[in-house]
């Protein structure tokens, strides 16, 4: 399916099972929905609401030839690149975080030609997901006009049929799979996000398959009490995974703050040793821990509690 094939995307949505069924599965089973060569769109942004629990299981299946897309890509992109899972990264920015500079692993993989870096502006990428979410082949915008970014990524320009002004057209993005982490979901896949919504609601609508992990699975009646807070409707969702601390060491707004020591440890290691360091962290964070509980145990309960308290303080 070409990225902007809105007819095929609509057919796929029509053919989904739209019933209110129980979609709860474990992270391992959910990860089986990702196939080699898929375009996998990742929810959250940088180190906020990264769906770490499910991404870890996707990696453990040793996929090949994936395209990963995300609004701002954090080190999960490094892990996928060094694991040999990725051909192309589609994003507006990729790094670890401001204090740690550009990742040497990213530089190595892109500069040696192992991975293609498909760069869009933040809004252009957001509008690509939005066009997908709307079921149309493109959206017009004014952003990036006159820049090299416009044509490098495959956007086009046209003269507006109403005003004659020049417009940038960005093609819709219909990911094969979206992987999202949210605060609350019911067993059917209705989902609520607190704090930053990022681009998740558009990803859920644009993707062919949606894997959702949630800090908490609540009963459908409890979810209905705050229907206004539901931003992802169940019929877009294919799998629901219960994953408390499912973004850790990245943050989940209001629940736990990012563990910047853990992120910084990775950042410093990569600044010193590049790909070799990413490989070590793959071993430590992905290959060795058999389950997500084993993974969280690496950080320990005290660190989880500390970040929970810091989040509460910031909301106070």
């Amino acid at each position: 399916m070409s990225p902007a094939d809105f007819v095929a995307a609509r057919r796929a949505a029509e053919q989904k099972d739209h019933s209110l069924r129980d979609k709860r599965v474990g992270a391992v089973e959910a990860a089986e929905l990702v196939r080699d060569g898929d375009h996998v769109a990742i929810g959250g942004c940088l180190y906020s609401r990264t769906p770490m629990a499910v991404l870890r299981e996707v990696l453990r299946r040793r996929p090949r030839g994936l395209t990963l897309s995300r609004s701002l890509m954090c080190y999960e992109g490094d892990l996928f690149m060094v694991a040999g899972a990725v051909e192309c990264v589609t994003t507006s920015w990729m790094g670890i975080g401001l204090p740690w500079g550009v990742s040497r692993t990213l530089r190595h993989c892109v500069e040696t030609g192992q991975v293609r870096f498909d760069e869009w502006s933040h809004l252009a990428l957001g509008l690509r997901y939005r066009a997908g979410a709307m079921g149309v082949p493109f959206l017009p915008t004014l952003t990036t006009l006159g820049s090299d970014l416009l044509e490098a990524g495959g956007a086009r320009t046209m003269d507006c049929p109403f005003t004659g002004e020049k417009l940038c057209l960005v093609p819709a993005l219909f990911p094969d799979v979206a992987v999202l982490h949210v605060h609350r979901a019911d067993r059917h896949g209705n989902a609520q996000i607190d704090g930053y919504p990022h681009m998740d609601a558009d990803l859920a609508r644009a993707a062919r398959v949606v894997i959702l992990s949630a800090e908490e699975i609540v009963g459908p009646d409890e979810l209905r009490r705050r229907g206004d807070a539901t931003s992802i409707p169940f019929f877009t969702v294919d799998a629901v995974v219960e994953a408390p601390f499912g973004s850790f060491p990245h943050e989940c707004f209001g629940r736990y703050h990012a563990d910047l020591d853990a992120i910084g440890e990775y950042g410093r290691a990569v600044a010193e040793r590049g790909v070799e360091a990413t490989d070590e962290f793959l071993e430590r964070w992905v290959w060795t821990p058999q389950t997500f509980a084993d993974y969280l145990a690496l950080f320990g309960g005290e660190r989880l509690d500390l970040q929970r308290r810091r989040a509460a303080e910031l909301l106070a």
Partner: protein
Amino acid sequence: MTGPASPWTRDELLAVSASRLLRDGKVVFAGVGTPLVASILARSTHAPELTIVVEGGVVGPDVKAGQLPISTNEMAAARHAMMLTGITDTFLLAQRGFFDYGFLGLAQVDPYGNINSSLLGPRERPKVRLPGSGGASDIASLCGEVFIVTVHERRRFVERLDFVTSPGHLGPGLARREAGLVFGGPSRVITDLAELDFHPETRRMRVRALQPGVSLALVRERTGFELEASRPGALAPPTEAELSALRALR
């Protein structure tokens, strides 16, 4: 200029100079780092009703001293915000025309204020891959007025870019307008050596005023292209009040 004996750091000088461009009652789209620090400083000095917008989707945060965020998408950047919305919708507010100011940093800038933050060397196989645009190209395209803030180095101020990530004036005259950007554009460049602006017709960068202790010759030496400068003024040094407000944030 900042030397060992200087009572302020280079980053402090940039933040103070940038903050002075921000007027009260306006809306500024600020990234983390110097732009956010400059915006918070402006709010605590001369522009208490300046509204800060952060790319992650935050309108009007009240960032706490000692808790400066390092990402535009983390809880610390959203403290006491008036509104939290999606990233795409935040940029669409810029496209709609509500953001008076935007800030940009850079790896390279050319005489027309076009910016590269994508890559160095050939496009297909870059010699250096940089993190990328993020929201920079959107800010450059869509905000009312754009301020470029950077350390002044010859390798950054180049006649020709390897890649145009963020559109400035694009070229002489109406180049920006002809590309379809019917508004906005860079108006000032703030560096640790000078404040620069753009000639209204040639659209090339020119020196407007010098930072304390800096000579025009030094600015020229650290710039990789020809700079116009008729009679540059002098920027006032950071005041005690500005420096203490700034240091209270850290």
